[in-house]
Symmetry: C2
Subunit: 456 residues, 2 copies
């Protein structure tokens, strides 16, 4: 086959798969990016020692970067070379855009047929943002990323200079942290981690604010940016996301403060101001930055368990965050309130939420729970670790959060592969995976007669 012929064939293939199963295209795009990153991290030049990284660690790190998780089996600051860290940072930036955006970019770049890729987005982003065309939507997403990341870097580069670094490393570290924060990636290239800076507001506030902005998601960022002065005119999605995120953040910060106030290994020995900042940062980490400034491994079991629940919920839809998403939680809660009150409709902010939305929320939450449950069972069988650490690690991987009680590095390879698969399924979305695996799509014309089984 000639070169133009091969190009045309691959274009037709992308066309075909985008038309027949957008979910499968999205999964393929993500898998391909992870494969390339794994290959690059497998080069000897990627490690500080110059020795080839073991496959399990290269795959785990590549997946953790592209899925913006931040769980690491090796120390990012010391194990990888500058080249290796650049590879990780590129993975974070690409992965942070999200699976739908990436699939759309591929569709635009290869097949130049907006009509097809638009179909993928109509059900999701466009209705919310009001931007009709996919091309301009993708541009807006990339511009939003760049603007927030640049703002964070402008704050963080001077912080690294203030720590005594010279210009080049301060620039590198500042940009790396800016991208890691906005993309909720959880990777840290600061030697010795963030715990020494638990009381530093100059570092802590950008983490809290940057995480929040990245985690509400691109549809909300674009919506709010256009209608900054008129919150009442925001979309239902934007209102639900912002309010639920804010409530979860405040509740988590208060709970962490309450649970850890007297724990000498975390908040107990800090000054009052430092405890407040540490609680704020810890309250935001489950959204899913994973950037902790206290030792998670030393937290109380009750804090771990609460963090499990918060990580599972995660951040906003079509965001840099993971989890089942805050709107999923909000819709489920609204459905239950309506059920308990005996209301026919589920309502919020003067809008009705339809039953198909509830069904999607159920699917996402139930598939997420099942995936977490099965993975936990596997790790209980593979390792001798207790349930609390395993459940924490599994939910952190699923929700691409990156917090850990400290077991990641010592896990056997089989457990690393389970977590790798979990990060992939968590970031691409359980329902995307389920739709891609579904044997066929069916459209029936004849409706069956209705019958109610007894529930509960």
């Amino acid at each position: 086959m000639s070169f133009p012929g091969a190009l045309r064939a691959s274009r037709d293939w992308v066309d075909h798969i985008a038309r027949s199963s957008p979910a499968r295209l999205a999964l393929l795009v993500f898998a391909a990016i992870i494969a390339v990153e794994t290959a690059l991290l497998s080069l000897p030049a990627a490690t500080a020692s110059g020795e080839r990284a073991p496959f399990a660690d290269a795959l785990f790190t590549a997946t953790s970067a592209v899925c913006v998780t931040g769980l690491v089996t090796v120390d990012t600051a010391t194990y990888w070379s500058f080249f290796g860290q650049v590879v990780i940072l590129v993975g974070i930036q690409i992965g942070g855009l999200g699976v739908m955006t990436l699939a759309s970019i591929l569709g635009l770049a290869v097949s130049r047929r907006i009509g097809l890729t638009q179909r993928m987005l109509t059900a999701v982003e466009t209705k919310t943002t009001g931007l009709g065309e996919v091309g301009s939507l993708i541009r807006a997403v990339i511009v939003a990323s760049a603007v927030v990341e640049a703002s964070l870097a402008v704050v963080l580069v001077p912080w690294f200079l203030d720590q005594g670094e010279s210009l080049a490393p301060a620039l590198w570290h500042g940009v790396f942290m800016a991208l890691s924060i906005f993309n909720n990636a959880g990777f840290v290239v600061v030697h010795g981690g963030l715990t020494p800076y638990v009381g530093d507001w100059w570092l802590g506030l950008p983490i809290v604010v940057g995480t929040f902005v990245g985690a509400v998601g691109f549809p909300v960022i674009l919506n709010v940016a256009r209608q900054w002065r008129e919150p009442r005119r925001w979309s239902l999605h934007a209102k639900l996301t912002v309010v639920t995120s804010a409530v979860l953040f405040a509740g988590a910060a208060v709970a962490v403060a309450l649970f850890e106030w007297t724990n000498p290994a975390t908040l107990g020995r800090l000054s009052l101001g430092d405890r407040v900042l540490a609680s704020l940062v810890q309250g935001m980490t489950p959204r899913s930055s994973g950037l902790a400034t206290v030792d998670v491994g030393q937290m109380r079991e009750s804090t771990w368990f609460l963090t499990d629940a918060l990580m599972f919920v995660g951040g906003g839809s079509a965001s840099t965050a993971g989890g089942i998403k805050v709107t999923t939680l909000a819709v489920l809660v609204l459905a239950i309130v309506a059920e308990a009150r005996g209301d026919r409709d589920i309502e919020a902010y003067g809008r009705r939420i339809g039953s198909s939305t509830v069904r999607l929320a159920v699917s996402v939450a139930f598939l997420g729970s099942t995936l977490v449950g099965v993975s936990t069972l596997l790790l209980l069988m593979i390792t001798d670790l207790p349930l609390d650490s395993i459940l924490f690690e599994v939910i952190s991987a699923f929700a691409t959060c990156g917090l850990s009680t400290g077991i990641t590095a010592d896990l056997p390879d089989a457990a690393k592969y389970v977590l790798t698969g979990l990060m992939y399924a968590g970031r691409t979305g359980t329902i995307t995976v389920a739709a891609a695996l579904a044997l066929r799509e069916r459209r029936r014309v004849i409706r069956m007669p209705n019958e109610r089984p007894i529930i509960g």
Copy 2:
């Protein structure tokens, strides 16, 4: 007020509450029965030693009996007197009928107005059973209980005689076990528990069969009893319940065999036949008999975690079992399959399942998860026990299962009260509790405009 006047006033009050909030009436009936049982168990005559039982233990045991749970802080066979055991058995028999049946009986007995109580049942039992009238439905439920319990006693009394007991104790023990099995109560009056009889099919098979029949629920028992030869004509509810229960039982038995086959403390030292019977009994316990014939405390962590999931699901609706119910699981799974396939309707056995049923299933599952999560968090704070034992105990209490890793007796009073509340909420039904607590019922005429937030 004269006596007839007081009677009329209380009748009017029951009338009023049955009309305005059937959920609250159901909760009140259950709480009243538990209060009476607690008072009886607080009498010195109720204990073998003749000393008054501590309030926390009397309340816990009364709740465990009426909620047919079987978790115990004191040994049933040795701590309570014969009178105390009779009180427990009466609690089991009354509680096994279920909250809706009890509320209906009260409604019939006091206010003699079937119309009102029927409203409580129309949404639930009558549609499924096809029996129009509440009075005959209640009679059918009581007759079904008595028939199955008598059949079990006919098998079990000879077993106790065969163990060398004389007629009176054999009768008492046989009847107690028959009621404990059918009502999924999990109480045992055999000294030394059931583990010595792990290989005894004469005892094991009645446990498996009796648990299954009790756990499918009265609507299914009545439906199947009438249409024994025509499974195709069973209601959708009966089909879903029987099939889901059978699949869970088979899967659980195989999983227990796989996980525990080489564990010397459970199946490892048994003969092949004994391992098979033990796996069958253990596969049925989470449905929620709680009658284990191997030492649950010695099981592997993976078996505990799988049992957590199985207990949470529990048995059938309007049955003697607990949990979120098998139809809730079935409807959620069917909803997800439909979602992944892109189907408009949720279908099973040629019937369509409506969105209001899905919403109810979501509410039950989500409220159950929330209740389990909050209770687990409380017990993590109250005690120093590890997450695995606590989660197991909490789910066992919520799902009125009664299995335990062995921590119940040593829990502090505060933890006992948490579990007491959990058994009550689990047995009366989380959605019943939520509906009773809802501030008001609203019926809107104006519908809000529809808007879809992004999910997942």
